[in-house]
Symmetry: C2
Subunit: 205 residues, 2 copies
């Protein structure tokens, strides 16, 4: 196996380092976060850090780096409180990835791509049209990570929209059936295929 000590990692060339360290969490969720400023400028941006923090109440976290384009999303969420999380299906990966470009605040990324804005239920929040899973989220709290200034932002699910044929009778949502992708590292997009669901495990006698 190829090995890297802590000291070797610290001295890696920057791009090599971020490719490597972003790869070794395992696969990551692939989402487009939709937000809008109070002045009416929509934003959509790809995130690979959405993670489950609890089901009662339904809380999801996402990580913001201290200085990236993603701060447009952060600023919008702080202004508006409401935002959307939209799962990325295989057919839109190129446009989804393009939202990582560092556009200035006044540019609407929906207009720079073929991603379509969708507004529903009279909410002032842009969703990504045709995403197989869409979540209306509301800001709950944030935790600043002292070690590097990143921010863990927590939101609560306010409303959930899921394509009918993806939901099993027990609530499981079959993301592979919806062609939802995952992210590998900074720039790898993977398609997924359900191997199987495994039963609830009890200790062996």
């Amino acid at each position: 196996m190829k090995t890297f000590t802590k000291q070797e990692i610290a001295h890696l060339e920057h791009l090599y380092k971020i490719n490597l360290i972003n790869s070794v969490t395992g696969l990551k969720s692939a989402n487009l976060v939709g937000s809008i400023s109070n002045s009416g400028i929509p934003n959509v941006s790809v995130f690979s850090s959405v993670v489950h923090f609890g089901s009662e109440p339904p809380l999801l976290g996402m990580v913001f780096r201290p200085t990236t384009v993603a701060r447009n999303t952060y600023d919008n969420i702080k202004e508006n409180e409401y935002y959307s999380i939209n799962h990325i299906q295989q057919s839109i990966i190129k446009d989804a990835h393009h939202t990582s470009a560092k556009y200035p605040f006044e540019v609407n990324e929906f207009e720079q791509t073929n991603l379509e804005e969708e507004y529903k239920d009279n909410m002032y929040v842009p969703f990504v049209k045709n995403a197989p899973v869409q979540l209306l989220m509301k800001y709950v709290n944030e935790y600043t990570i002292q070690e590097n200034g990143t921010i863990l932002l927590l939101g609560e699910i306010q409303k959930l929209y899921v394509e009918d044929d993806l939901i099993h009778t027990d609530g499981f949502v079959d993301l592979a059936k919806g062609n939802v992708v995952a992210i590998n590292g900074l720039d790898g997009y993977v398609k997924t295929e359900l191997i199987e669901r495994l039963p609830y495990q009890r200790p062996k006698k």
Copy 2:
């Protein structure tokens, strides 16, 4: 689309609710966390919440629920400081999933499965033998989430072991080539296939 309001989610039957809410983050990383108590009892447990928090220094977070079997892992990490993260490949998903069974503290999950303990570099930390990516981690800090008592535990990568043929020349680790799986919801395991790596994006002129 099937819709669920916040109020409807709150009143869902418990198992339906946790299946649903655990599915809608998108795909999740699939890792086995190895730990050991100072009294010498190893533990291995599946986690789907490992997330990237930074590359300089290389920080990964994971989420602990307030009251689950996973707390054996938490207690061990607090005692020993060191632990391992091991990516789950397709051939071991049944054993990996079995580590979610609620065994008492004194049971070594390695002995209840075909997962093999591996010790290396004279470190007092069990790794999962033959995992395509193995990380030696050291506890850095933790943040208690006020909203529900979950704990975000941050660790720093101390040493990284990656199968030689998975690393591209720019540091990207091809997890699909290593048969690394992702998790869908609580109990779905998906195989992955790299579609493509997309180039670094700059704003369109």
